[in-house]
């Protein structure tokens, strides 16, 4: 089907739940190239939202705005608004260090520090100035349990984190983020480097964590989105093409491009 006009993005408003993030007219540039174009959307609290779309469509760039990780890329620049609680995340005066304590992130490749398992988990707390051993010990136990890693590591907390398997390393990174008791968890293809069993484990954990926090996950794996996400956002060439409840979006996409992508016509 050919249309001359660009189909309008279909964003189903989500009313019933409080939005955690309200994104308004977000544009993100790398130098002069626009990587995220005019995105306006709201993400609900205590739910899993999946960001999908072909490679290079701006999912990671978009995700990194929520904890201002794009600050680490010198040529990246954003305009628009991302409202979180009463703040605009894009405000240059915002305390990004405090922001990142509330909004945790998990990366594509497990990236534990070359230190002990214990030191990995307490890294964020120590940077936040927590010194009491009892507090740190307790946080280690709680967050490793949350990441379902406690039984495997309780006897080897002083061992190097690099001695863990890939799946265990990713759960350690999860525990490390959870130690700060974040309100939001951002995940950028967190299972793409893992085997199916480790992947299933992470998914299970996310479904559990969702009860307490908001989760936004970038994934290339459609089944994964279908399995765990309450809402799904489809990006194409920097634009948010379609956004709505996962089941509805997968079963009856409203935008032609979404349909094509889901049916594997490109990607």
């Amino acid at each position: 089907m050919l249309t001359l006009e660009k189909p309008k993005a279909s964003v189903t408003p989500i009313k019933k739940i409080n939005p955690v993030f309200q994104v308004k007219d977000l544009n993100i540039y790398y130098g002069d190239t626009l990587a995220v174009k005019d995105v306006s959307v709201q993400f609900p609290e205590r739910a899993i939202t999946a960001l999908i779309g072909p490679s290079g469509c701006g999912k990671s760039t978009f995700l990194r705005t929520f904890n201002r990780m794009n600050d680490l890329i010198p040529e990246a620049r954003a305009t628009g608004e991302v409202i979180y609680q009463e703040w605009n995340i894009l405000d240059p005066r915002l305390d990004v260090v405090a922001l990142r304590k509330e909004i945790g992130m998990l990366f594509q490749k497990p990236n534990p520090f070359p230190k002990s398992i214990y030191e990995n988990v307490v890294h964020g707390l120590k940077c936040a100035g927590v010194k009491k051993k009892a507090v740190l010990d307790e946080a280690v136990e709680i967050s490793l349990k949350q990441a379902d890693l406690w039984d495997e590591t309780r006897d080897r907390l002083t061992k190097s984190a690099l001695s863990l398997s890939g799946g265990q390393q990713q759960r350690l990174c999860l525990a490390r983020a959870l130690a700060l008791k974040p309100k939001v968890l951002l995940l950028d293809e967190p299972t793409s480097a893992l085997d199916p069993i480790s992947t299933a484990k992470i998914e299970e954990l996310l479904l559990e964590l969702m009860k307490e926090m908001t989760i936004i996950i970038v994934t290339h794996n459609m089944q994964q989105a279908a399995r765990i996400a309450d809402y799904t956002a489809f990006f194409f060439q920097g634009r948010l093409e379609e956004y709505g409840a996962t089941a509805a979006l997968f079963e009856a996409p409203k935008v032609e491009r979404t349909k094509q992508y889901l049916s594997g016509q490109f990607g």
Binding site: M69, V97, N111, C127
Partner: protein
């Protein structure tokens, strides 16, 4: 026409050849120096004062001076070099100012040591009036060694993948916290290796010291606890001929009858110490690496 396979074989042969030439030269050089010097190394050679006129002098004071100068130099160099390296690797923006600074460091690193020595003499010996002294020598060696230390530190930090920085930043760490608690520990093996290797360079340096630490050494008394006494081993204001300067001096301006033997013995000791530095750099670096990887 030469077939690609033959070219490949030829190039492989040339590479193996040049590697073997290098190894051959090294073994030959070490062999000669150690063989010629070994017969002259004895406990009394290592533990007696050098003599100015008669045969039979030792190298005790020169050996001490070399180590003392090395330690002082490293005390000055390591913090400055580390801070400079951290600045270039983690803080400096990619702009003209940074590339200007980086060119300065590179230029400084490539200056011949004799020039650095002349500069040290001008500044520390004459302008500051510290004379030929350990302090003048150590600061001159600092100028000589600091750019290398900066480059080593920068390279060690840059070798750490970015995902470590991102991981730490995402946990709310400030840049300095990331440097201190993630990057420096991760870079430690490389930093230590670089430090020990540059220590070898400092230990063997002579040209920069001839005009700054002097060609003579007082006979040191190791029970002299007055810091500023002339015969105190720790006095930073006294002259201090080092081992490699001694080798140069006995061969050129010395009048001792056994100059050749003393030079051979001292050379062998010098080479052994530097060899020791290099070996320990490798071994310690590997040990720490294994400790970090753990299992």
């Amino acid at each position: 026409m030469l077939k690609a396979k033959h070219v490949d074989r030829l190039m492989t042969g040339l590479m193996i050849g040049s590697a073997m030439i290098m190894a051959g030269i090294l073994i030959f050089l070490l062999g000669i120096i150690l063989l010629r010097g070994a017969s002259h190394i004895s406990l009394s050679f290592l533990t007696s004062n050098s003599s100015s006129f008669q045969a039979g002098g030792g190298i005790k004071n020169q050996l001490w001076n070399s180590f003392y100068l090395l330690v002082l130099t490293m005390v000055f160099t390591v913090p400055i070099g580390l801070l400079g390296g951290i600045y270039f690797a983690e803080y400096a923006k990619d702009n003209k100012w940074t590339s200007f600074l980086r060119s300065c460091v590179e230029l400084l690193a490539s200056l011949p040591s004799i020039i650095v020595g002349m500069f040290g003499m001008l500044l520390f010996v004459n302008v500051f009036g510290w004379g030929f002294s350990i302090l003048s020598g150590a600061l001159t060696l600092t100028i000589f060694n600091m750019p290398v230390m900066i480059q080593v530190s920068e390279a060690a930090l840059r070798a750490i993948p970015n995902h470590q920085r991102h991981g730490s930043a995402a946990l709310g760490a400030t840049r300095w916290q990331t440097v201190k608690t993630v990057l420096l520990p991760a870079a430690f093996p490389a930093l230590l290796t670089g430090m020990i290797l540059s220590a070898g360079r400092v230990f063997g340096e002579s040209a920069a010291l001839i005009f700054t630490a002097g060609l003579t050494t007082p006979n040191l008394h190791f029970r002299q606890w007055h810091l500023f006494a002339m015969d105190s081993p720790f006095n930073p204001m006294r002259t201090a001929e080092t081992l490699s300067v001694h080798i140069w001096a006995v061969n050129t301006v010395g009048i001792i009858p056994d100059a050749a033997q003393v030079a051979a013995g001292a050379s062998a000791v010098l080479v052994l110490v530097i060899l020791l530095f290099n070996l320990s750099a490798r071994i310690i670096g590997r040990m720490i690496e294994r400790g970090i990887k753990g299992n």
